[in-house]
């Protein structure tokens, strides 16, 4: 760094003139909002603005994390790198109602804020405002599922971990290719009708087109919840009866355990045929929660749930367990043993 580039000089001048931006060796990137942002090279301390960014940051450069958005639950800890387990929960910046105090953020010494998710005017404005206020560069990357390989590469370039990014992006591309190859064998008539149950009663569900249920459609399933919104809705058991889904996915352990005994769920094909699946959620969800790169393993999981005949068996058979172990090793740098895999798959 002893030969300051012209860009760094400019940055220093800019910092002196405009805002308390740290003077550093930086690179200029154009983020998903079209804003040109000057970011430090190989940043050592990075804050993720929301849960999706948090997962991506963890996967690419866990040593740069300054904290979590929300503290990981005790059940998540065995699946996380030991050095990240004790990081503080700092709160979130994304969306309405921040729970993060910018002063707290500044005390962490973060050099950069990264966000990964929806790109719209609100988030663009939020990024600009936080950047001006905190004097920290704020980069937003498009979080749509289809663009995941691209997003991984972009984020890796910003974080200065291009090699690792290439590795993960390649995995993502392979996962999509595999899914497409599988779907090519499935006629439209064989696509399962799927209901994603959330909430303690299983009556909350992301509607078709929602980011939270995107992966179902990506894997060829038909999300039965067709509503006027693309967000989370409440539905009645009667409506679910009318939809008659073939498969019910859930992220709620109680619901998964009880649904067979709940009278109002009787007669639904998925319940009658025992095709209710509790999607693994540690340390990050397979389906969403948050909608980030953690969903890549969800593709493989859903392949077994949706098309057991085509992938050599359901959850117990076939190569799913190995696939999960490989994914965790690659993305989370933790290799689950047989017992951990059993716990994940709820056995």
């Amino acid at each position: 760094m002893s030969f300051p580039t012209r860009r760094a000089m400019l940055a220093a001048v800019f910092a002196a003139l405009a805002a308390p931006v740290l003077a550093f060796d930086g690179q200029s990137v154009t983020d998903a909002t079209g804003r040109e942002v000057l970011v430090p090279l190989n940043p050592a301390k990075v804050f993720a603005a929301g849960p999706p960014a948090s997962v991506l940051l963890y996967a690419l450069k866990p040593e740069a994390m300054v904290g979590w958005v929300m503290a990981p639950k005790p059940v998540d800890l065995p699946y996380l790198l030991p050095e990240t387990r004790g990081l503080p929960a700092l709160g979130r910046l994304t969306g309405k109602g921040d729970t993060l105090n910018l002063e707290v953020l500044l005390t962490t010494g973060a050099e950069l804020i990264v966000d990964f998710g929806t790109v719209n005017a609100t988030y663009r404005d939020l990024a600009t405002r936080v950047q001006d206020q905190a004097g920290l560069p704020y980069v937003l990357i498009d979080g749509s599922f289809a663009a995941t390989p691209q997003a991984i590469r972009e984020m890796a370039a910003i974080l200065g971990v291009e090699a690792r990014g290439e590795q993960l992006a390649t995995y993502a591309e392979a996962a999509y290719a595999e899914a497409d190859a599988l779907l090519a064998q499935v006629p439209d008539a064989d696509r399962p009708r799927v209901y994603l149950a959330r909430g303690p009663e299983g009556l909350e569900s992301p509607a078709r087109g929602s980011i939270n249920a995107e992966i179902i459609e990506r894997m060829g399933g038909i999300n039965v919840v067709e509503a006027e919104t693309r967000g989370l809705v409440t539905v009645s058991p009667e409506q679910i009866q009318a939809w008659a889904p073939d498969i019910i996915l859930t992220v709620d352990r109680d619901f998964a355990a009880n649904v067979r005994r709940m009278p109002e769920w009787q007669g639904i094909p998925a319940v009658d045929q025992g095709r209710v699946y509790l999607a693994p959620g540690e340390p990050f969800g397979f389906i969403d929660a948050p909608p980030s790169v953690n969903r890549l393993i969800g593709l493989k999981y859903l392949a077994h749930v949706f098309y057991p005949d085509l992938v050599g068996g359901d959850l117990e058979q076939g190569d799913l367990r190995q696939e999960i172990a490989d994914f965790y090793t690659l993305f989370y740098q933790v290799t689950p043993d047989a017992a951990a895999l059993d716990a994940l798959l709820g056995e």
Binding site: R92, T99, G199, P200, E204, T234, E238, Q239, P263, A289
Partner: protein
């Protein structure tokens, strides 16, 4: 008489409520499923069995719950308006809804089973009102009613702050939506077992209100007047508050926070049956039940997604209320 018209309206609402839903059932199927279920439980096969599941496990409990909650909230509101001598009072005045809401969202935050969430809602609702009454007695102000209402507002605000805190602490992906939906009120998740648990509390609250309805009406004249007419006003008011609290806490535990009904239906009843509490209470019970069943039917028919009841009661109730007021503001002291 007008009361029989209201009874007819309730029958109509119940038929509509049982007959309409997102799961398509023909009148014949409904009749068979109802009679079949009465005689021998869930016996049929295929479509018949499905019709029985829908009617006996889902739609039936839901319609009955709607009727019970509508009647209960309307009765509680009517009684409170008399006891607090103010036509703008609703069953929430002593903080029961806020308290029950706080209990339930706390249950959601702690990840408790549904039954425990409902119990926490119920328990916190009762405890909130007990706290308000205890505080009122401890302060022993001259204007007891005013002190009580102010205590209710204060404790209710505290419970509201508690709800906000829970929202802040909740997992934004999983719990926060559940909390938000729950606070807007819905009967979508009502099961037969929920109904069986909540119904006794609502009925237990309704019995004294109905049995004592003439005496309760005298409280509208004020404490001194009522006492001069031979009524133990303080004791009677306590009975009414206990009964109304029981009803409202059970309703909130069962269906979440449903506003408007307890405020509006008593006015509708008064316009129909006059201000005498012993006459307007039956009208309020019938109108509350009918209105709630219709609103809940709309909540599941308008769209595949459930529309929260709190939104519908306000959207449907406000125009009805305005029309009624325009037609006869007479019975409402103007």
């Amino acid at each position: 008489m007008r009361l029989s018209l209201l009874a007819l309206a309730l029958v109509f609402a119940l038929i509509l409520g049982i007959g309409l839903g997102p799961y398509p059932l023909s009148p014949g199927q409904i009749f068979d499923a109802l009679t079949g279920g009465l005689t021998g439980g869930l016996t049929g096969a295929g479509d018949d069995r499905q019709a029985q599941v829908v009617l006996w496990n889902i739609r039936g409990p839901r319609v009955i719950s709607a009727a019970l909650i509508g009647a209960g909230l309307a009765a509680a509101g009517a009684a409170y308006q008399v006891v607090f001598r103010n036509p703008l009072v609703s069953p929430d005045i002593l903080g029961v809804s806020a308290g029950a809401g706080f209990g339930a969202v706390l249950g959601i935050l702690l990840g408790l089973p549904v039954m425990a969430i409902q119990l926490m809602g119920f328990g916190f609702g009762l405890a909130t009102v007990a706290l308000v009454i205890g505080l009122t007695l401890a302060l022993r102000g001259g204007a007891q009613l005013l002190v009580m209402v102010l205590c209710g507002i204060v404790i209710g605000a505290l419970a509201g702050a508690g709800i906000s805190l829970v929202k802040l602490l909740a997992d934004p992906d999983e719990q926060l939506p559940a909390i938000t939906f729950w606070l807007m009120g819905s009967l979508a998740g009502v099961k037969r077992v929920d109904l069986l648990a909540a119904a006794p509390a609502v009925i237990l609250g309704l019995v004294p209100l109905i049995a004592l309805r003439w005496r309760i009406g005298l409280l509208a004249m004020g404490d001194d007047e009522a006492r001069a007419m031979g009524i133990e006003a303080g004791r009677l008011r306590f009975v009414v508050i206990a009964a109304a609290t029981l009803i409202t806490a059970a309703a909130v535990a069962l269906a979440g926070v449903i506003g408007w009904i307890g405020l509006m239906v008593p006015h509708m009843a008064r316009l129909v049956a006059g201000p005498r509490f012993d006459r307007m209470l039956p009208a309020a019970l019938l109108a509350g039940a009918s209105f709630m069943v219709l609103v809940d039917t709309a909540a599941r028919m308008i769209a595949p997604m459930e529309v929260p009841l709190g939104i519908l009661t306000a959207v449907l109730g406000a125009p009805v209320f305005v029309v009624l007021l325009a037609r006869g503001a007479r019975a409402w002291n103007g």
